[in-house]
Amino acid sequence: MHEFSIAEALATQILRHAPAGRRVREVEITVGALRGLEPEAMKMCWEAVTHDTSLAGSVLVMDMRPWTLTCPACGRAWESPVPFAECTCGEASPRPTAGDELDLVSMTVDDDDDAAAAEAETR
């Protein structure tokens, strides 16, 4: 279950980035289809690795990037959750491509006072 190692690495990363004393509400990542990450498994692992930490209760938001299928016969390209699918023109073997990105995109933290909020907004 690679989801667990990834959740652990992500939690370490967030704890390093989180401003001291501010509760982390949400963490956003982008996941390429090649990674084969199961969103449900990933959420479960996130809860497991964060429940005893200051990240407990934070929500993991995953932007799951799809496959792109390109038809060699008619040239149509479209996005698909699965790598193998028939084209509408009848071609059985469109070429699947996908990324292996696994990127931290943002975290959302509670504001502790107006000054902190103002400072964050000017970044």
């Binding site: 190692s5 990834i6 980035h17 292996d100 990127d103 975290m107 933290v109 907004e121």
Partner: protein, 226 residues
């Protein structure tokens, strides 16, 4: 009545496995500087990785100076098997871990006399999914499929097929006895990766081993020259 707590979204641009990737980069730099060709061998449990390594080490005897790192969940059995053929074998027990990570490779390499090595064979934990995403600092990834696993395994594991620098189809001697449609397997591989070399091998009969060993030796030669 309390107002809802305001929050701020802070954008971050960083890879999630950044820490592993940095360690891997350190390992890679060190291996390249020493002219060592390192391969990460990835395949399912029972696909014959350890038997293939035994046969490979036998074929390389006196020709190359290999070292082997073996990842396994708990036992030392694979390491003990390979120690018969190679004097530098380090077993990495991953405990619950389903794949090797760069830090484990770095620590294991500290137990190897790298001045006596020109080829590093890393047998990853038996798993077709998890190991692919963790860079170990290898020069090449080797994917191992076995005809006994079924002809759908390439289609079900696109990340390995796309990331591999060479794909081995192992236990090829059993092809007449199992329902493995080679054309299906090859078509799936080619859709996912149009250029990866595909080699048939059998550790039992020795079929195809010369092609695989030649591939390794070409890599070792170019690593030494670089």
């Amino acid at each position: 009545m309390n107002e809802p707590v305001k929050s701020t979204r802070i954008p971050i641009v960083e890879r999630v496995l950044e820490a592993n990737d940095q360690l891997a980069a350190t390992v890679r730099t060190d291996l390249e500087r020493r002219g060592i060709f390192a391969v990460d061998i990835i395949g399912a449990p029972g696909s014959g990785k350890t038997a293939l390594l035994e046969a490979t080490l036998r074929a390389l005897k006196g020709r190359r100076r290999p070292a082997v790192l073996v990842g396994d969940l708990a036992t030392r059995r694979d390491g003990d098997r390979l120690a018969k053929w190679c004097d530098q074998v380090v077993q990495i027990s991953t405990g619950q871990g389903c794949h090797l990570e760069a830090g484990q490779v770095r620590d294991a390499l500290a137990q190897v006399d790298l001045t006596r090595v020109d080829l590093l064979l890393i047998e990853n934990v038996g798993n077709l999914i998890c190991p692919v995403g963790f860079d170990l600092g290898q020069a090449a990834k080797v994917g191992v499929f076995a005809v006994t696993d079924g002809d759908d395994k390439a289609a079900k594991h696109p990340y390995l097929v796309q990331a591999a620098d060479v794909l081995l189809l192992n236990k090829i001697d059993l092809l007449p006895y199992v329902p493995f449609d080679r054309s299906v397997f090859e078509a799936d591989v080619r859709l996912l990766n149009a250029t990866v070399p595909m080699l048939d091998v059998s550790s039992t009969t020795g079929e195809g081993l010369d092609g695989w060993v030649a591939w390794l030796e070409r890599g070792a030669d170019s690593a030494r020259g670089s």
